[in-house]
């Protein structure tokens, strides 16, 4: 079982988001980066499957050298080797293109990643990779078991759950509770530096560029209206909030 786990490097979920360069760039100063939380679950399940069935787990990240601490963390958690495509992950298609290029050169039974990243949340990379490779892509996968050449999957669908089976190879967008989140052990941390981390150039180029970012407007103060003066609400919504 050879598994490719695609991880993103995202700002810590509690980070304060600011922009620079005339609001065209996310300001990374002082921001801690982590492995995308959904990717982390994909990685955890991949490592469990490897322990169960043998094989290797390769992690792939599209990013500049700044993301290497997150890649080495994935190696410390238990991945065997890593590939970094040396480029800014400018848009979903570009990232998917890189993943597909790596996948074409190797033979993976599973390509796993989070259902979405927690920075830009496009949630489409796994779908595009599926298209580029001509393979089925399923998301959000919440349970995954492998029986021979078949993946038994449970995923959330609108209003319920779906259980399905699919033949490998597959591309999966994952989320909890697919596996127990894994903490890097001391031994893992100490062996991570000895594991291969190969850097390769990107294929193609980003098709989009950011004109500007902005944060949602700050929440205004909450006005309380006594129940006996409910008619004031209409007045405020019409004349102050101007939404009616």
């Amino acid at each position: 079982m050879n598994i490719l786990v695609c991880i993103s490097s995202v700002p810590d979920t509690t980070a304060k988001i600011t922009f620079k360069d005339d609001n065209t760039t996310f300001n990374k100063d002082g921001v801690t980066h982590i492995i995308g939380p959904y990717d982390d679950y994909a990685l955890a399940r991949a490592i469990e499957l490897k322990e169960e069935l043998g094989g290797t787990v390769t992690v792939l990240n599209v990013g500049t050298a700044e993301t290497e601490p997150q890649i080495r963390k994935a190696l410390a958690i238990g991945a065997d080797e890593a590939i970094r495509v040396d480029a800014e992950p400018t848009d979903s298609f570009f990232v998917a293109e890189q993943i597909a290029a790596v996948a074409k050169e190797n033979s993976y039974d599973l390509i796993m990643m989070g259902r979405e990243t927690t920075d830009y949340n496009s949630g489409v990379v796994h779908g595009i990779v599926g298209q580029l490779l001509g393979m089925p892509s399923l998301s959000p996968v919440m349970e995954l078991n492998i029986d021979g050449n078949t993946a038994k999957i449970s995923r959330e669908i609108e209003g319920g759950k779906e259980k399905l089976e699919a033949t490998l190879p597959l591309i999966l967008g994952c989320q909890e509770p697919i596996a127990e989140w894994k903490i890097a052990s001391m031994r893992g941390i100490m062996t991570a530096r000895k594991k291969p981390l190969n850097v390769r150039p990107a294929v193609g180029e980003g098709l989009t560029s950011v004109s500007s970012y902005s944060l949602p407007p700050e929440k205004g103060d909450c006005k309380m209206i006594p129940a006996e003066e409910a008619e004031k609400l209409i007045d405020l919504l019409q004349n102050e909030a101007k939404v009616l």
Partner: protein, 598 residues
């Protein structure tokens, strides 16, 4: 005072008479990626395994829950950081194990169990065990397969540890020591597989240490103690009734137990100090969060100056204590490496290095535990009424903090030790205290010099620091002359002197940390750190003035009193600085991110 010559490493306690340059200290901002990953593992462990079940841990009626948490920590390798690789540990350096202690320090009762096991439980064997003992026990302790406890305190023998009554008697066949006695406040007692037990053989004057496996039998215990805090820590009274310990399980030599106990506690002290920093950071983050969330008079209470004052003050103390801890930790690491290069074994080198910096270790114990106590107290206050609720987090933090000023040597004992060790080193000729003290005594009789000899970055602050050193040299030097051998009876004066020394070490570490940080990040990026240092410096000067005055008034009279008080005034002079605005800046930055950010 002379600058330390290049390549001449500073010795323990020498901070008082020598200057350290910023480039010579280690600051926590220099931890490498691997060390940061280790810290993340520790905090991830607390977040997933410990923090969600804090109530359950505190209510634990049986020792199994804590024991299972220790198993999980063992699986991750968190119990073997300081154990060398040849004994199946990870052989991390001292500052890395300090980092582990700091992060796990936010683990309440778990933190106590973990530190007792890895510190006083494991280290006696690591440092004093023979090869057979190390091979037999260390791998089991490093993995957590076995848990350890340390049995020193007895009902009538606490701070006066060498007065213990537990007896070890050699059996007629010469194969065993039969241990009889009673031990108290034994952390991890309920689930430990191995006990480091201190007992006196026959009528020996000094203690002897033994490695006692629970399976030897003859060990019984009371139910867990009811405690004010750290309720989840399994603390027991343990009774040894004809416990048969094989003679080969004596640790080191007969009557070496007291020395072992003292040295092991010494290591525990600096770790306790840094663990308190970790606990305090967690509490401050909670307080900052609450200050943002809680609204009174229509706005978040964090917008009030009174609350900002508290938050700024808490951050400043934490940040400064952290600076002192890792500075001392690196001094210890450097000396360990040097001694190993000179041919000392790993254990010998570690012991010697820790002994050398025993003064700094004691300073960290007192400072860390008192910073944490300050922070939890103000944490309760920020939470207001909710701070007093047992359903809100400050309740546990407040109760759990208190023990830190008591165990591993009370803060009173440690204050006395700080001065005692310093004076002993001076008497042995290891450190020239009398020269600088004599120079200060002369200086106060002469016209004050207005020339400041420091130049460059933080010249003014370094001059203040230099004067604080003179202040303590003046006070302690005069007290030594006055009381000579009877100084030990003047505990109040010794404590005053210790307070000054603690403040000096802490604030010097802070100045050097800011200076080094500026070199790394540039001045603009560390303005808040500079604020925290300045807040602390002004507090330290005020404290030194207060306790210095108290000490002088306790023993000087007439002209001597007047001259010394004038000297103190001169040595505790500082340029005005708006600490109110500095605290506000620090608090605002934390409130913006809803956490302790440094």
């Amino acid at each position: 005072m002379s600058a330390v010559a290049e390549n001449e490493a500073i010795k323990g306690g020498e901070f008082l008479i020598k200057e350290t340059s910023a480039s010579d200290i280690f600051i926590p901002e220099e931890f490498n990626e691997e060390q940061q990953m280790i810290a993340e593992t520790c905090s991830d462990f607390l977040k997933t395994e410990v923090h969600p079940i804090l109530d359950e841990i505190d209510k634990a009626k049986t020792p199994e829950l804590m024991s299972s948490l220790m198993d999980k920590a063992g699986e991750l390798g968190l119990l073997g950081t300081a154990v060398p690789e040849e004994y199946e540990g990870f052989g991390m350096n001292f500052n890395t194990s300090m980092l582990v202690a700091e992060v796990l320090g936010a683990g309440y009762s778990f933190s106590v169990a973990q530190s007792a096991h890895t510190g006083i439980g494991t280290l006696p064997i690591l440092y004093y065990g023979n090869e057979n003992q190390k091979q037999k026990y260390l791998p089991k302790l490093a993995s957590g397969e076995w848990k350890a406890a340390y049995c020193l305190t007895e009902p009538d023998s606490g701070s006066d540890a060498n007065s213990g009554k537990t007896k070890a008697e050699l059996t007629a066949d010469g194969k065993h020591y039969k241990i009889n006695g009673q031990k108290m406040w034994i952390t991890n007692g309920g689930f430990a597989d191995l006990f480091i037990v201190f007992a006196k053989i026959e009528d020996d004057k000094n203690l002897t240490a033994f490695i006692v496996e629970k399976s030897y039998g003859g060990i019984t215990m009371n139910e867990p103690e009811h405690k004010m805090g750290i309720k989840g820590s399994d603390t027991r009274q343990i009774f040894f009734n004809d416990c048969m310990v094989p003679v080969e399980n004596m640790l080191s030599d007969r009557e070496k137990g007291f020395k072992i106990a003292v040295n092991i506690l010494n290591i525990g002290r600096i770790k306790l100090g840094i663990a308190a920093v970790g606990g305090a950071k967690g509490v401050l983050t909670q307080a900052v969060n609450y200050a943002n969330e809680r609204k009174q008079f229509g706005i978040s209470i964090g917008r009030f100056g009174a609350i900002k004052h508290k938050l700024g003050e808490m951050a400043s103390k934490i940040w400064v204590c952290e600076a002192a801890g890792y500075r001392a930790g690196q001094n210890i690491d450097d000396l360990i490496e040097k001694l190993k290069a000179e041919g000392k074994s790993d254990a010998e080198a570690k012991l010697k290095a820790l002994e050398q910096f025993a003064i700094e270790c004691a300073i960290m114990k007192v400072h860390g535990s008192e910073v944490l106590d300050f922070v939890v107290d103000e944490g309760v206050q920020v939470y207001g009424g909710m701070g007093y609720s047992a359903d809100a987090p400050m309740d546990r933090a407040y109760r759990d903090s208190r023990i830190n000023r008591i165990f591993e040597g009370t803060n009173e004992i440690n204050r006395l030790l700080i001065v005692d060790m310093l004076l002993k080193r001076a008497m042995k000729g290891e450190m020239d205290l009398m020269g600088p003290a004599g120079a200060v005594a002369k200086e106060i009789m002469s016209i004050p010099s207005f020339g400041d000899d420091h130049e460059g970055m933080f010249a003014a602050e370094k001059n203040v620091l230099k004067n604080l050193k003179k202040a303590v040299l003046m006070v302690a030097g005069a007290a030594v002359q006055k009381f000579m051998m009877k100084l030990s009876h003047e505990q109040e004066i010794l404590m005053n002197s210790a307070d000054m020394l603690i403040e000096i070490y802490a604030v010097e570490s802070a100045i050097l940390r800011v200076e080094k940080l500026i070199g790394i990040k540039g001045e603009e990026a560390v303005s808040l750190e500079k604020d925290m240092m300045m807040i602390y410096l002004h507090n330290a000067v005020a404290k030194c003035n207060m306790v210095g005055r108290e000490a002088i008034q306790a023993f000087a009279e007439g002209d001597e009193l007047r001259v010394m008080l004038m000297g103190l005034k001169r040595f505790t002079k500082i340029e005005p600085f708006n600490t109110k605005d500095a605290r506000r800046r620090v608090a605002d930055a934390m409130l913006a991110e809803s956490k302790y950010i440094f």
